[in-house]
Symmetry: C3
Subunit: 270 residues, 3 copies
């Protein structure tokens, strides 16, 4: 177990205490599972996408999650309006550019949303490479290892001003100057659909009223630790889904800090 | 255990025997989970929303469930047409005004659907308060206790002619003159997304060919009892989902009547 | 246990090794669960429906799954374009004509998609009867036994040139000349929504780069065997969902070949 100077427990305590209202405009595949993950960590999720109400609802929320997994023009317009509303109201928001690089529509849409200034971009290595101008992703599953794309992640953070959370076998959180590696999780998690989207949703919940860099590290670490506890208790990807929600719900300080492998790469505080 | 003069077992037996076709126009988040709950109690669910077929399908069904959780204009129009078809054909239908009060679009849409004469309105206390003209709900999770809004629920029932099922820590079913309280369920149920929507869907299944007031009470009690059995067997919200479906499927008369806490508040038969 | 001359193990080994990218344009109810079933057998699922990208994505994929469960005009147009792309690029595709016969919109849409030449049609007996001109289905759940509709399935295969997989208490795979019966599965599977759609999705994964007839038989047998293993371990439909994914993920050669009841009806090789 590596020591860490980043407090990952207090952000979870705050989510549980504040139960932030998290507005999600996300994909059809994961609406149910990310809502359940948000409830399991104590947040209050809502899925609202109509143009008639996206802005009004965004203004009520403590955080916004935008995920382009099953995008179409009306949904993208709702994402754009909600993101603008969040920006104006200083509500933090996180973007999940699902499948950027796989089709030009996804790459273009993701780039346009990034121009609206997300607080955090959560993506896999292929998507981050594509957003940096290097196409070649395979659908929604990453074909690159996250380590090889770390330079691209730092570049994306510097260019956009967003914190970038790149998840994979090792997860990285970087703002271009500071970088943290998180070595939790389990390979079985890749056999459950949408756990990357769950990471994004949890980042959204943690962003509400908290320091964005620390909140992002904590959210990713919480999911990784819960995922590895769930994997121990699971016979396959079906049980993993159930056990993951139970682990998020019951996670205690000793387990989280005992298992978390969070490590400064760059810019550690003196 | 309180005695009850309301038979909640026979309505479940009838659903299992008749396997009513339940037409759902519902939200993306719960389509899978409410279909599974309907199957678990023995109903035959279908999700059909296209304008090209909503009326034709509504006319084939034994009950209709309308839930505005992830509404948009084309879906609302399909809801309107299906509700009109149901009304003309004397097919019972239940409305779930998800998030009424949170945005004006939701409040307006819910009000317009109520004008079409639902057999039952199933909602939480915040939504019912909003439908009675008192805004201030927080997204889709209720910020009010159901007890404090009971007057509003009775008023809504009297004004609309619908039976109102208001769920919360205590559930109430009222037609304005008669009121029943149901004290089942478990707080862990609030950590699973869409169990309010599941209540609505089960009410739909029970309405098919049965007395609407008794059917609504029975549906709410069945879900509450199954939920508390599931909570006993669960380590968290992940296992609760699984256990709830198993409990709905295996529920027997002794367990249901032994655990149900159904109590007349107003209008008990002499 | 019946002996079979059809190798159902090697196709599963190939899916696990190749991890084919399977493009799904499917219904809202099952997007999550079919993605998880595809991941559990080792495939790489993606859900992509926008007109702006359906063709580009179809061309990248190793197989295409089209399921009309919650159809609407824009989705149908995306299905049409993706199917045309697949046909031109010789990418195999499978059609699930959910609810054909229940509404004229479904019957017409299914017929128009069949005109585009699916490699496989996976349906229940009511849907196959309707596609052959015999209406009278009840929603999405079959009201016919699959045995009585076997003639219609063979006719459909002959008329369309597609392999027809008709699932029910007994499953049949036929190309009009050759017919195989598969006697696996468990009645509890009918209490979980969308397992027919899961059959379709798995057929899609197995079609990638494999002989279509053998791939279809193998996919149906794999699901049936996994389903009956899951049913043994389940207390109800909630646990069945979880156990099914675990069983798909862990299925080994001895279990699959020991349990599979695959039998030639017509056209067995000499």
């Amino acid at each position: 177990m590596l020591q860490t100077s980043i407090d990952i427990w207090t952000p979870l305590v705050r989510v549980r205490a504040a139960s932030p209202l998290v507005h999600n405009i996300t994909n059809y595949v994961v609406m149910n599972t990310t809502a359940n993950a948000l409830l399991a960590v104590g947040a209050s999720p809502a899925m609202v996408h109509a143009l008639e109400e996206a802005e009004q609802f965004a203004a009520l929320s403590q955080a916004l999650v935008i995920n382009i997994g099953t995008l179409s023009p009306a949904w993208v317009e709702a994402m754009r309006r909600a993101a603008l509303t969040a920006k104006r109201a200083a509500i933090p928001w996180v973007l999940d550019p699902v499948g950027a690089g796989a089709t030009s529509y996804r790459t273009t849409t993701a780039a346009a949303l990034i121009d609206l200034g997300p607080t955090v971009i959560r993506a896999n290595a292929s998507e981050i490479a594509a957003l940096g101008g290097d196409p070649g992703g395979k659908g929604v599953d990453s074909t690159r290892t996250s380590g090889s794309a770390l330079g691209a992640a730092k570049d994306l953070a510097r260019t956009t001003g967003a914190i970038v959370a790149m998840t994979g076998a090792v997860d990285y959180v970087t703002d271009g100057a500071r970088t943290v590696a998180i070595r939790n999780g389990d390979p079985l998690m890749a056999r459950v659909t949408g756990l990357g989207c769950t990471a994004t949703a949890l980042v959204g919940a943690f962003l509400a009223g908290q320091d964005p860099f620390e909140a992002t590290v904590a959210a990713i670490a919480v999911l990784g630790v819960a995922g590895e506890i769930a994997a121990i208790r699971s016979a396959g990807p079906g049980s993993l889904q159930l056990e993951l929600l139970d682990a998020l719900y019951t996670l205690d300080q000793a387990t989280l800090t005992g298992r978390a492998r969070v490590e400064w790469m760059d810019g550690a505080p003196a």
